[in-house]
Symmetry: D2
Subunit: 375 residues, 4 copies
Amino acid sequence: MKENGKLKEAALSEVAHVKVHGRTTGSLAPLTLFWTGSAVEFNAKGSELWVEVEADYDVYEPWISIEINSFPVSRQMLTAGRYWVCVFRGMNEEAVKNVRIVRELQAMSDDPRCCLQIHAVRFDGEFLPVPDRALKLEFIGDSITSGEGVVGAKAEEDWIPMWFSATGNYTAMTAEALKADYRVLSQSGWGVLTSWDNNPNRNLPDYYGQVCGVLGGERNEALGASQANDFEAWQPDAVIVNLGTNDGGAFNSPEWTDPATGQVYKQRLNDDGTFNAEDLQAFEAAAESFLGKLRQYNPEAHIVWVYGMLGLPMMPAIYRAVNSYTAKSGDRKVSVFQLPNITEESVGARSHPGRLAHEQAARVLSAYLQEILHS
Amino acid sequence: MKENGKLKEAALSEVAHVKVHGRTTGSLAPLTLFWTGSAVEFNAKGSELWVEVEADYDVYEPWISIEINSFPVSRQMLTAGRYWVCVFRGMNEEAVKNVRIVRELQAMSDDPRCCLQIHAVRFDGEFLPVPDRALKLEFIGDSITSGEGVVGAKAEEDWIPMWFSATGNYTAMTAEALKADYRVLSQSGWGVLTSWDNNPNRNLPDYYGQVCGVLGGERNEALGASQANDFEAWQPDAVIVNLGTNDGGAFNSPEWTDPATGQVYKQRLNDDGTFNAEDLQAFEAAAESFLGKLRQYNPEAHIVWVYGMLGLPMMPAIYRAVNSYTAKSGDRKVSVFQLPNITEESVGARSHPGRLAHEQAARVLSAYLQEILHS
Amino acid sequence: MKENGKLKEAALSEVAHVKVHGRTTGSLAPLTLFWTGSAVEFNAKGSELWVEVEADYDVYEPWISIEINSFPVSRQMLTAGRYWVCVFRGMNEEAVKNVRIVRELQAMSDDPRCCLQIHAVRFDGEFLPVPDRALKLEFIGDSITSGEGVVGAKAEEDWIPMWFSATGNYTAMTAEALKADYRVLSQSGWGVLTSWDNNPNRNLPDYYGQVCGVLGGERNEALGASQANDFEAWQPDAVIVNLGTNDGGAFNSPEWTDPATGQVYKQRLNDDGTFNAEDLQAFEAAAESFLGKLRQYNPEAHIVWVYGMLGLPMMPAIYRAVNSYTAKSGDRKVSVFQLPNITEESVGARSHPGRLAHEQAARVLSAYLQEILHS
Amino acid sequence: MKENGKLKEAALSEVAHVKVHGRTTGSLAPLTLFWTGSAVEFNAKGSELWVEVEADYDVYEPWISIEINSFPVSRQMLTAGRYWVCVFRGMNEEAVKNVRIVRELQAMSDDPRCCLQIHAVRFDGEFLPVPDRALKLEFIGDSITSGEGVVGAKAEEDWIPMWFSATGNYTAMTAEALKADYRVLSQSGWGVLTSWDNNPNRNLPDYYGQVCGVLGGERNEALGASQANDFEAWQPDAVIVNLGTNDGGAFNSPEWTDPATGQVYKQRLNDDGTFNAEDLQAFEAAAESFLGKLRQYNPEAHIVWVYGMLGLPMMPAIYRAVNSYTAKSGDRKVSVFQLPNITEESVGARSHPGRLAHEQAARVLSAYLQEILHS
């Protein structure tokens, strides 16, 4: 191999212009990409660029996608270790390349050792500023929003990182359609009140105020995952909540027993198969409460609760929750929007929405957001 | 990272069931993937698989795609060195995964040092046989058939490996539609008689009999690239020739001077912009001769000359060449098929066909092949 | 013209097998097609078929579509008079043709003289039975459900029958997708509580119990339009209500003064542009009441309130109405389903949904109905 | 019905601005629409328009489509007689409507009595000039170009006018895409040398010089069908010839015996199923000769021979014919273009191309014409 003698190494914290996507502590030494869709972005004028990554995990390895001028050129597993990944080489040194290196895998609360960091770059050119986009979107969701099943054959059943994709799901597509910067907070299986299996600890609202509080373990603590998020630094124009699918599933799943207390949790069905009113009300209360929390942290944002890609059973309850919140608060910048259900054609791996389903969702959601954000 | 203690390393040559795609010398120690679309395929029953690759180059680095159960899960640049790449991990050890590791980059005749090899595997399971498919296709072409421009934004202009894709072009799609095994011989810029820039040495026909004769240099020689190909071992049901685009371009390009002899080569235009009859006839003679050569090596195959994805100027000459060959030989298993031209919507990077254009071409070509192969 | 000497004339009431679609009084002497989508259907084994129609109107002329074996072959204006229309001729006399003659225009409450009747047939063959389909659907709606704007260039602005289509709208498409018989009750501009211009008389619920009570005038009275509908004779599996769009529009339209009483009606906006709570509540009460009425007449049907093809402002109120109805009644067979909004691409004439918008609506609605009707 | 007292009747020949499409004798008293796609076009500023038509036939009745502002609003059979058809009514009298009344049925050489004429108009407004479009196209073809099978279910087998459509086939679509005026000469079953059943009289070239020479009988003679066409009055920019499909079929059809002379005609197959060389050569000679005739009448037009919607067997012969013509004449404005074959999805009635197939053909053909007409 011919060596490129012009490459110069620099810690990420020394790079003049680096744009970070996703919630972080602000640290660039190194930069930890906690959530799916988190990314580092450059406008790179030069011929060859490398980044030094560090990956670790017990079980679930992180994956990244690389986009050059908004086109996905590479997607790869990052096995454990600290090493250099070549982003591009052999390009015209005079042309400015927009580059994104995006975390494809959701924050892995099940594997506290799962970690993806970026330490440094090797480059033979100059980094130019990356302007912020005029619009900012924040997505909060579950496996759908984590892009679970976007990658992989329909027959796949393993729950592994390979089937997750940030860049191939509706969040990235919606942001691209609206030319928006965006962030994602998502946990596969989690809900508003409980997870799909009735675990009340696995709810997104409890962790909304933190950088990435869903991650436990000492290292994540040390990395600042449980710090308070700096909301002033990044205020979204719209917060899109795509939750409820797992809360609905909990009604059809076995009870969950808290190993610490022995307490048993279960969202119950009536004998006729309908939702138990009291338990459904608990979900609605949780949803209503979450809306208040979102408003507290995001005083100006439109809040849009979206739902429907894997069926509609919780929609009436979601409307009731939003209605109750609106009636009590007088807050008018909250709405509900139904997303298209998957079909035989659009389903992906693990019975989750495939790429086509995400494209369909992004098309209608971006049209809806366009309307409410510009009226 | 938790180590998987069950992984066992084996040289590729020791693996019980390995299927190789693309022309090779037959060697598995190591396996050299010369042409684009060349691949190693496994039916792997186990939870974790790694392959040991070796990549080298002066200028143009190889890329690979990994497909699990026919779904593309990863695409990555292989920088220089010998190292292990993880194919999958954490999967159900009882399920059989069909795995393909595919060379995404064409044989790089401009960089004799460009080389991609597979040495060994690490696996915790059992390899099962990979049956041959009932149908075999061979594609011969230029940049279109190399998938140049399938990857990358429309504005891209650099001629670099990143924009090439074997798995995203019409050859893979056509083979998939027909459930066929396939091989590709392609060189960007080359033609039947000359390359786009009038170089008469850059023609595919001269190298058809060899494993990968387009590659020069001592190492490729040592690896067997210039050996006679073993045609008996793999006889295609159809040979698809997608050449002529660069021969057409030569009429509009500057002359080429042979540095060794000083001889000047040029396909000439008449003053009125039409093709010089003598030079066009030279192309037709070369095409006709190539048909004879293809028939000699492939006594039973349907030969289909396809053309048109980047315009139609050579189509009458191609028809004349096929007509002349058929008239003289009585060979009835030769035909011509027009492929759809690119449009503003379907164009990819470097003004070449994008993925949509390849999908359109594959749709009509596979329907046509279906018809002639089953009648 | 060669006369077909075998044609025999018969009053419709004498025809052995005739299937009537849409609400009627049961009379076939003649048959009056009141509502859009109303139709007469034959399975006709013969070579040539004519029907004798009678059309009248002061302003708005009726249109029909003719479908042969489910394919639309003709669409034509019916000018005033009583005359024969040829349905088909010159066909194989041994083949059975399924034939539908469908009213394309909604019941025209603005033109009491508008009338479409079928008196008789001329035929040279035999009519075979037309079996009922396994599924029955009833649609209740406004201009969207009347297919206003399905026909015509986007620039069209006249409110005329030519732009209406029963066969090109989502009702026919949904029924076709589900292989269902269907009926439609729809009035352009009408709502649940009031019309788009605040007229409280123009509401569909008041007329639901009658054959076609929206039509006034002596002739319609004589034809039985205001008779009680025979609900026992035809019970739908699902009732799809697509109302609310005009109720929403009323908030943004001038007040309406009852010419008889001088009373003024207006759905009011608050100063901040939001809906007046009291007036919105009146809509919700009307919607809730309508659900009760629908259930009374259709004890077993799934009731689906659909909404969204021209925006979503009333959706929270619709959910509240359904919720309130469900809470009080315990009725579980009522749901809400959001239809896709029009886009620049899918809009038709008069700023109404075009054919593409209706296709999109039918695709998601039929998938949804499929799910709830088969679970 | 309220009478529109403002309607004034005028013979078509007295109308200030009327644009006629398709070959005619120039007579407007009445106007005879001979070929499919022939039409009368108005820019009508008024509220209500009627046309007086006269239809006759022994067997095959004519059909028309009505387009308002380029949108098809009506399609109807015209049974025998002379009567008034309402084109529109109740429209804004101040708006100008572009109106086309188009013959949907090909010239019916099998039924010399088949005739469609337009005598007069009733209108309450003013006709404005209809400008010629910048581009003119002429299409020559067989059943494909007659739009046979565009209308009707796939199962239909009768050969009747109902299944033919001018406005729903690739000729109208291509003209619309290129904003061109266009004419069509087409006969179902006919070819360049013979018809599908080896009748050498049923060839289009023999009649190209006449207005509509394919029509026999005294009345058509009297109407001027066999007059020399006035080529100076309308010179196309491109002549698109879509012939060869029936010439190919003749090889697989029984011989035809001339009832007058007893002479037997048959395009023969060799024992191995290939085309007899002599007979194929006769086709090529006929095609070559036709090109000369087309050039004689159209000195400046691009001539494009298109083929392939129902298979490709004659393509090599077509290329040879064009090649031979070009070689001898030096004429460079002649080319060949392959159209997409039908698929299971795109096939229409009577195993002919359906609307989707015509849309696909129009898309690629209009792109090709765009290229050659603007380069």
